[in-house]
Amino acid sequence: MSAPLLKVEGLTKRFHAGGGLFTRQRTMTAVRDVDLAIDRGEVVGVVGESGCGKSTLARLVLRLLEPTVGRITLDGVDFTGLSPKALRSARRRMAMVFQDPYSSLDPRYTVADIIAEPFVVQSRAMPAGAIEEMLDAVGLPGTAATQYPHQLSGGQRQRVGIARALALRPEFVVLDEPTASLDVSIQAQIIELLSSLRDRFGLTYLFISHDLGLVRYFCDRIVVMYLGSVCEILPGARSKPRHPYTSALLASSFSPDPAARREIIPLVGEIPSPFNLPAGCAFAGRCPRVTEACRTQQPPLSREGGHAVACFNPL
């Protein structure tokens, strides 16, 4: 069994707000003690609603944010402890595709400049025809090279973002809601593009999304997050959820099939504040299967049968 490409252990990120002369300092825990291993060639999805920490996790994995606690290992090498110089060099092996195609490209750069930038940053010579090759790989015409972002549509901009991410042939790509800002018909194009690129370049993906339907279509395994903690890791896209939150999330995702209409049992209560996390399970206040133990202790992530779930009373 080969070692995982990316391993994350005990990853925690806390933010501090206030702390000036007149305001009390408050601490917000965005990501809490996350353990995750991603094998080469896998597509791992991370789903959750707003405030669950998935975007923060994406940035922690690339060290765009520094973890408060925890370790990240890339192909056996401790990524968290790298010096700035070694980090820059290691960044060649990882890349990120961002959610907003409108602000993720520098408006003053042409498409050619944008795709060439990774080479410039890493001080590598750009092979002849590299730009044309990347444009072709992402389905853009060669004429796009001299255009500016404002001349392109959202879907085209996102393709440029993908071309930039893949210019140096990274091994691991983090995709932060890459299609959330796009129309459904364009989203489908981009997803199929990502799929073919993964096969072509042998990539490993960490795919962040709020769209459970999309993640179940595209990903091999699914990590479900709630208020900074992992509550479940589904071993397969079609696995039945065992955590009550995952089940609620699944029930709330309407499928385009009128025959599948259902009555939703609404989750009661409100989401707790990340500044003031409750003592026990973060979901206890809203869970229909809550027990006494849930309110006092945080359930650990137990991995029996290859299906990890953090719940004292799973389905």
Binding site: R88, R92, V121, Q122
Partner: protein
């Protein structure tokens, strides 16, 4: 590629009447300053005492001053002083201000707090006061004037740059550059500063107009360019005593300052409008 962008910008500016008129005047002033030796019939320090206090005539288009020097010549050479002093000192001010502001905005923390405090403190002093203090220390003359102007306007550019940098820092394309492994200097010089430049340039343009007035003010008090080097301010100073005897000595340099500063402001307005339109068109819809 860059030239094409600037050409369209220039066209947009000149399409507006304010921009066209102002641009033409400023071009004339610049030409007058650059080609002064070729355009003027006399030397600027040629004193012909028996021709002193002459009103405008065929021989002296703008008259002569109290030493019989040709006013038109002195006006053209005065343009050199005004333009060079103001533009060089604003240039120094922009470079230093942008550096400080960019560093403060990008790195934040204690450095930012320190820079902001100093900048805010200097912001509370009127420019003329700062200028006078500096000239008192350095001594009158062109060097003193340029240093004074540069320091007086530093706060403005530092603050503006800092605000722009802080706004741009949270743009996703900055994060994207960092994810590629870009160093701080790459992010600052290849992404942040180019995008922050536009408002600072416009501010610098308008500050040049202010600087001309500041230079003229210092010159009026004899603290600027020393005689016989002409400057519009010192010409106005010596002309003020002779207001009723030979009013043209103060009127022409006064008009020159006023029209040039107004022209700079009009041109700056046209530039802002042109950049806005360009930005609107650039954003596509």
């Amino acid at each position: 590629m860059i030239a094409a962008r600037h050409l369209t910008l220039a066209r947009t500016i000149f399409r507006r009447p304010g921009g066209a008129i102002a641009g033409t005047w400023l071009a004339c002033v610049v030409l007058a300053a650059v080609f002064a030796p070729l355009l003027t019939p006399y030397a600027y320090d040629a004193q012909v005492l028996k021709e002193a206090f002459q009103p405008p005539s065929a021989g002296h288009l703008l008259g002569t001053d109290e030493f019989g020097r040709d006013l038109l010549t002195r006006l053209f050479y005065g343009a050199r002083t005004s333009l060079s002093v103001s533009s060089i000192s604003i240039l120094i001010s922009v470079v230093c201000g942008m550096t400080l502001g960019a560093a403060a905005g990008y790195f934040g923390g204690a450095f930012d707090r320190m820079v902001t405090t100093v900048v805010d403190l200097s912001w509370s002093f009127p420019e003329i006061l700062i200028a006078l203090i500096l000239v008192a220390i350095i001594g009158p003359g062109i060097t003193g004037t340029m240093a004074a102007i540069a320091v007086a306007y530093l706060a403005q550019f530092a603050r503006l740059t800092r605000a722009q940098i802080m706004m741009l820092r949270s743009e996703t394309f900055i994060e994207a550059a960092q994810s590629l492994g870009a160093s701080h200097s790459h992010v600052l010089f290849r992404h942040l500063l180019p995008n922050a430049l536009a408002p600072v340039l416009v501010s610098a343009m308008l500050a040049t107009g202010d600087a001309i007035i500041l230079e003229a003010t210092l010159g009026f008090f004899g603290l600027g360019a020393q005689p016989p080097l002409p400057s519009w301010g010192s010409m106005m100073s010596s002309g003020s005593a002779l207001l009723f005897k030979a009013p043209w000595i103060i009127i022409f340099p006064g008009l020159a300052v006023a029209i040039t500063v107004v022209a700079i402001n009009l041109f700056g307005d046209a530039l802002i409008a042109a950049l806005d339109i360009k930005d609107q068109v650039r954003r596509g819809e």
